[in-house]
Symmetry: C3
Subunit: 187 residues, 3 copies
C-alpha cells in the first residue's frame, strides 16, 4: 500500500465515521414520529339525569351559567372535569385500555372552542404509564393539534403532537374523539 492510497483510505474512513455521527446542535426537523399511537375516548357529560353513566361533570361556569346545563354563548366559561374511557375501537362498550383524565373548558363566546389539560393513564399489559397533554382545541375544525407535554413510565419524557378528530357526538351529552398521537421525542 503506497502513501497516496493510504492517505485516501484514512480520509475516507474519517469522513465515513464523521458522517455517521453528524448533527448540528439544533435538532434536525425529522418529522417522522419515533412512536405513534391511536385511540378513541368517550365523554358522557352529567346533565342531572345520567349520574350513573356520566364520565364528566361541569364544575365551573360563568355567572350566567350553572353546573347542570352547558351555558349559552357557546358554553363560554364552562369548565368540565372528566374521567373518560380510552378504547382501541370506536365502541363505547369495548374494554378500556386506560382513562383520559383531566379537564376542558369552553373559551369563546361566538363559536365552540375549548382548552384541554389532561392525561392518558394506562395500566394494561400493553402500556404502563401516562401521557400528558395541553393545548387549544378549536373543536369545529375537522382536525386539531394539541401538544404532548410529557410522559411517564413507557412514555418517559415524551413530547409530540396529538391530532384530535371528533368521531361522533350526540346532542350535548356524548362525544367521542379519535386521537392520533405522534411522539417526536422518545427516550
Amino acid at each position: 500500500m503506497d502513501d497516496g492510497k493510504r492517505l485516501i483510505t484514512s480520509l475516507f474512513l474519517i469522513i465515513l465515521l464523521s458522517l455517521s455521527s453528524v448533527e448540528p446542535t439544533k435538532k434536525i426537523p425529522a418529522r417522522n414520529p419515533c412512536k405513534r399511537l391511536v385511540f378513541f375516548f368517550h365523554d358522557i357529560l352529567y346533565n342531572g339525569k345520567n349520574a350513573k353513566n356520566a364520565t364528566s361533570a361541569i364544575v365551573g361556569a360563568p355567572a350566567w351559567g350553572n353546573r347542570t346545563i352547558l351555558a349559552g354563548q357557546s358554553h363560554f366559561g364552562d369548565v368540565v372535569v372528566f374521567d373518560d374511557p380510552i378504547t382501541l375501537d370506536n365502541n363505547l362498550h369495548s374494554t378500556p385500555v386506560g382513562r383520559a383524565q383531566g379537564f376542558y373548558l369552553y373559551d369563546k363566546k361566538d363559536i365552540f372552542t375549548s382548552w384541554l389539560g389532561f392525561s392518558f393513564v394506562f395500566n394494561s399489559t400493553e402500556h404502563k404509564g401516562s401521557i400528558n397533554f395541553a393545548g387549544a382545541d378549536p373543536l369545529m375544525n375537522k382536525t386539531r393539534d394539541i401538544s404532548v407535554i410529557g410522559g411517564t413510565g413507557d412514555f418517559f419524557m415524551a413530547r409530540g403532537i396529538a391530532t384530535l378528530t371528533t368521531d361522533a357526538f350526540e346532542g350535548e351529552v356524548y362525544f367521542r374523539l379519535y386521537v392520533d398521537i405522534k411522539l417526536f421525542e422518545c427516550w
Copy 2:
C-alpha cells in the same frame, strides 16, 4: 513506524475520538433564541355590566367569593376563563392577529399572584398554529417568566420562555400584557 502500524494507530485514534464525541448528555446551553416574537394581549373581565365587551369571566371562586366581583384576599381562588385578542401594538382596537385562550387563577392571599394555562392561537397570513404556555405569574413583579410547553403548526414542538410585562391596567376590569416569546427549541 511501518505502514501497517500507522494505519492501525490512525484507525484507533479515529474510533477513540469518535466515541468520545458522541454528544454530551447535557444540551449545550445556547441561550440565543431560535425564534423571537412579541405581542400584546388584552383582557376585559366580565363584571356584570360589560357583557358585550368582556373577553373573560370568573368561572370559579372560593366559598367567600362570587362570579361577578373578584374575591377579597388578593382574589385568592378566583378562576378566570379568557379569549383575549392578540395585537401587534398596544392598541386594544388594532386588528387582532390571533387569540389568547385559556385560563388563569389567583393563588395567593396576601399578594396578587396567578397561574396561567393558555394558548396563543394564530390564523393569519403571518402565523398559523398555536403556542402553548403554562406557569406561575407573580404579577406584581415588573417582568415574569412562564414556560412555552409546546406548539403546533408554525410552532411545531416549540419550547421556550415567555416574559410577561403588565403594560397597562384599569381597575379590576382591564389589563394589557406585553409578551416577549423566546423559543430555544425550534424544529
Copy 3:
C-alpha cells in the same frame, strides 16, 4: 510528504471533523438525572373554620358538591387552588424555601385520583426561578410520577419527572407530599 507530516495531517483532520460532528440525532436515553431535588410541601384545605391557616380552597365543584366540604363520589369534580409552603424537611413549621402554587382537581368517582397543574416558585439564596409541573396523580398509589414541563431562572428550560409520595395526611384537611424531582434536560 513524509510519514510524520502525513500522520499530523491525518490527526488534524480527525480532530477537526470530530469536533464538528458532535451528537447523534436521537437523544441517548441517559436516565441519570442532570439535576435532582427533594422537597416537602404542605396543603391545608379551607373547611369553613380554618380561614387563617388554610393554604388552599375549593373553587369549583360538581352540581352535587359545594365549596366548603369535599364532594361525595371520591370528590369527583372538586377543583382546589393552592399556595402551599415548600420545606426541606417534613415539618410544616420549618422556614419555607418557596411556594407550590396552582391547582388540583379530583377526577374519578370510585377512587381518589387527581390532576395537577402547578409551579414550585423559589426565591431563596439557594434557588431562584420556577419549576412547572403537570400530570395525573393516582394518589392512592404509594408513588406517582408527573411531568416537569418547563422551568425558568435556575431551572431554565428544565424537563423531567417528579415522583410524589404522600408523606402524611390528616382527615380531609391536611396532607403533606414528598417530591423527588429528577431533571433529565438541563441547560
